[in-house]
């Protein structure tokens, strides 16, 4: 008999709507699962058990009366701790915001609430979404449920691990250079980065404003479609959100990819990618060919400059976005021993920010400095334009681009923490999509030496329905996405660790 925590959102939703199960039971099952396995996974920073059960009771009422019932009504989810939640502390994985309780809800949080979803709590991440392993969290690393000695990827590692471990039916993360797709790949989950402007960023704590996009983690393409449908759409509070109609993503999942043109970019199959990863992607290409898709050889010639351009643009924007953390209005404020205002500001930021965040603030500040702007920021923006043109040219001949999501499977904890550049290479294949503003999804493509491998499907702007259709078609003929990691249930402790606040 299957436990409630391993249902998909689609299945659970149907059973909820048929009133075979209650949201309270479903939510409790996940709270129990969190209690059982999070000691090993360490995905959650804050579990809002009481609020979750309250949400669940409200959802059950809606379901009982068939009142505003959506695909997410009664479904327990987890939120990356970069999403601002009214009354629930939001840390962004930083010491600086350890006690920060926002006075407002972000737009996606509000939309989930309106859809009747249940929020289980806030999950771990690299500080301010800067990192690819979740080791840059001020609250300790999250572990990969498939091998707890390995990282779950990052920066949305908590969101990925929670879904992979059955601690939440779905979750939201944010993807600035691959922070949803890469952890998706490393944890055997579906991680979708929507088109820039598809989902409102209002209430997403900014890392790099022109690249950030909120995206869902799920255990199937169908669940991803359900979640995306709930959060997508124009928001007047975000001037960069697009006023483009939101299609019915679930309806788009026809299972039919006959005639779909799938491009294979030669620049994404280069040395340095693990053979096991390459094999999985090649197998996936073969699956698509068998399903009737047309496979094309394509070129994205400026790919090699993507990483460099990204590490100018993202830190530059971050250096300004993080300037507000000055210890004056909220968050950490170090005043003891400070001679004056500037002194206090510097102590606060030194204490509040971890090394990777400080590194990127310095990189960005330097890139924008008088005399360097043209050589760095302006040039990086030019590269970005070229990369965008690469994709526009490619999408003139194909519908979907297929590639590895990450050059490697999940690496060991601590393996790359001393080598920032090695860490940055984890996002080699994901960064270009952010620079171009297109959409992409990482799907469970298979395994290499027992560890999950993600296959990345990229689509033109606002073509989420197309990549989700391709993802769903793949799932219909494979079973990788249905596999679960083995996690020993630790005995549920009566009280949770003190670092995990029950709000």
């Amino acid at each position: 008999m299957s436990a409630l925590w391993n249902l998909s959102i689609a299945e659970a939703g149907e059973r909820l709507r048929r009133r075979e199960i209650t949201s309270v039971a479903l939510t409790q099952a996940h709270l129990d699962r969190i209690a059982a396995v999070d000691e090993q996974v360490k995905a959650f920073l804050t579990v809002t058990a009481e609020a979750a059960l309250e949400d669940a009771r409200a959802a059950d009422k809606r379901l009982d009366h068939d009142d505003r019932v959506t695909g997410l009504t009664g479904i327990p989810l987890a939120l990356k701790d970069v999403l601002v939640t009214k009354g629930v502390r939001t840390t962004a994985g930083s010491r600086f915001l350890e006690h920060f309780v926002p006075p407002y809800d972000g737009t996606v949080v509000r939309r989930l609430r309106e859809a009747g979803a249940v929020t289980l709590g806030k999950v771990n991440m690299d500080e301010f979404a800067m990192g690819s392993s979740t080791e840059n969290s001020a609250y300790g690393p999250t572990r990969n449920p498939w091998d707890t000695t390995r990282v779950p990827g990052g920066s949305s590692g908590g969101s990925a691990a929670a879904v992979a471990a059955g601690e939440a039916m779905g979750s939201l993360g944010s993807d600035t250079g691959g922070s949803v797709r890469q952890p998706g790949a490393l944890t055997n989950t579906v991680g979708l980065k929507p088109t820039y402007g598809r989902v409102s960023r209002f209430g997403l704590i900014a890392f790099a404003s022109s690249l950030d996009q909120i995206g869902p983690f799920t255990r199937s393409a169908r669940d991803s479609a359900i979640l995306l449908g709930a959060i997508a759409g124009y928001d007047p509070a975000d001037s960069t959100s697009a006023n483009v109609p939101v299609p019915d993503y679930v309806q788009a999942l026809t299972g039919d990819v006959r005639g779909l043109k799938i491009g294979v970019p030669r620049e994404y199959f280069v040395e340095g990618t693990e053979p096991g990863v390459v094999k999985v992607v090649q197998d996936a290409i073969a699956v698509y060919r068998e399903l009737g898709a047309e496979i094309l050889d394509i070129s994205l010639p400026h790919t090699r400059y993507g990483l460099a351009a990204y590490y100018i643009i993202a830190p530059a924007e971050a250096s300004a976005n993080l300037a507000r953390y000055d210890g004056i209005k909220y968050g950490l404020s170090v005043r003891e021993g400070a001679d004056d205002l500037i002194d206090s500001l510097m102590h606060t930021r030194e204490m509040g920010f971890g090394p990777e965040v400080r590194r990127r603030i310095m990189l960005g500040t330097y890139a924008l400095s008088s005399g360097y702007y043209d050589a760095y920021y302006k040039r990086a923006e030019q590269v970005r334009m070229l990369i965008r043109q690469d994709f526009d040219a490619a999408f003139a001949t194909c519908d979907v681009i297929i590639s590895p999501t990450s050059p490697t499977v999940a690496f060991k904890l601590g393996e790359r923490t001393d080598d920032p550049v090695a860490m940055y290479l984890a996002d080699l294949f994901t960064i270009p999509a952010n620079l171009a503003g297109i959409c992409g999804v990482s799907i469970p493509g298979g395994f290499s030496e027992g560890l999950p491998v993600g296959v990345q499907l990229l689509g033109q702007r606002f073509e989420e329905a197309t990549i989700l259709r391709a993802a769903d078609a793949f799932e219909r003929v494979t079973d990788y996405h249905t596999r679960w990691p083995t996690l020993a249930d630790t005995v549920a402790k009566p009280k949770r660790k003190s670092t995990k606040k029950l709000v």
Partner: protein, 500 residues
Amino acid sequence: MTTTAASGVAHDYEIVIGLEVHTQLLTASKMFCSCGARYADDAPNSHVCPVCMGMPGVLPVINRQAVEYTLMVGLALHCQIPEFSKFDRKNYFYPDLPKGYQISQYDLPFCRDGYLEIQLDGQTKRVGVTRAHLEEDTGRLVHIKDGMGDAYSLVDLNRAGVPLLEIVSEPDMRSPEEARLYMQKLRAILVALGVSSGRMEEGSLRCDANVSVRRRGETKLGTKTEIKNMNSFRAVQRALEFEAQRQIAEIEAGRRIIQETRGWVESKGITVSQRTKEEANDYRYFPEPDLPPLTVAREWIAEIAERLPELPDARRERFIARYQLSAQDAEQLAADRPTADYFEATVAAMTRGDEPSRAKAAANWLNGELTRLMKEAEQEVADLKVTASGLAGLLDAIDAGTISTTQGKTVLERAFASGEAPVAIIQREGIAQLSDTTELEAFARQVIAANPKAVEDYQRGRTNAVQFLIGQVMRQTKGRAKPDSIQPILIAQLDALSAE
């Protein structure tokens, strides 16, 4: 430094001045959020929200009204309005700047390359406007010294995010007086457009000046200093006069001018160094990624141009042409929109005489007596209790001879203080002029009887004796008699006496 020594050689130097003027825009809400933009004396941090407080996760949304106001100013200043514009981030740390950067405009402002004309010694001078761009105001710091002598500062963010328009002039002004005239004309335009309150003393209109001096004939600009903290038109002129003399004295003493920011200290009448160039910030401007670049539709510009109200220069010319006012009267009235509106409303409400004569009377009273009263009471036209139609009634009564000019002044003073309509005061107090011939004849008889000497003089042909007797009647009637009415009555009675 001695200014006397410097002023001796001052004529050898030319002063070069450019102004950076900031004005808050009179929008209902702030620049990037829906908080109210009018905070006046409200409790600190009572007009704030997550957006203008710089909370994590917030995003700005452009206030369309503020952009429209900016375009109005651009059109009024004959600027080019480029089709593309964008916002940028100006990065620096200060406790009154909640986000650690100010959203401003760097290389693509809304308005460029315009000009403004000032009147100087009967000549029109054109001052170039380099650019006008939109940004957000900062919050305010309140410095406290508590009873224990400890000093600390509090942050009030009511002002943070209020739309701020910066208008930068070319270094085209050649004297502190020109700078003051530019400032006054700019204020007049902003007020006429209804986009600014124009109140310098409250800080809703602010002025920084770049000033340098050079020997006459020299084409290269001298090293400039930036003067801040000038809170009135008078302060602008005084500060620049001081600074120019200071720079001349420095050069005369063989020293170099240091490029720096200096603050005007009103109480001492001097400028003092605040920050040198070496300490200046590198603002690291870059395009604001939270706001997509804007396309300013040509149709929108045309539509705004269509709706633009009459500006001070045009109004002055119309006043001269239509009302036949003197250039000076016209300039004084047209320079301030509320005054000009009040003037025209008064003329329109008057019922006697032709329009130019009504206008002449209204201009005289408005620029004269009423201005004097307002100055004494530190009021502006907007504060006036006397309405335009009230003033019109008073001027009509004077023109009709119902009251004398002297009485008119008394009535106006009372109306100014109480707000009662002048006509009502005249009626209630019975200060209407004596025009009843029978009554006047009685007064004339009394005066003639009491002054036989004057009568004798008159009979000897000394006509100025009549003036004396008129004065006596005026005294008897306590000013209520009008000389023009008394004269024929007196002459008639005197001639009747001689005939006897």
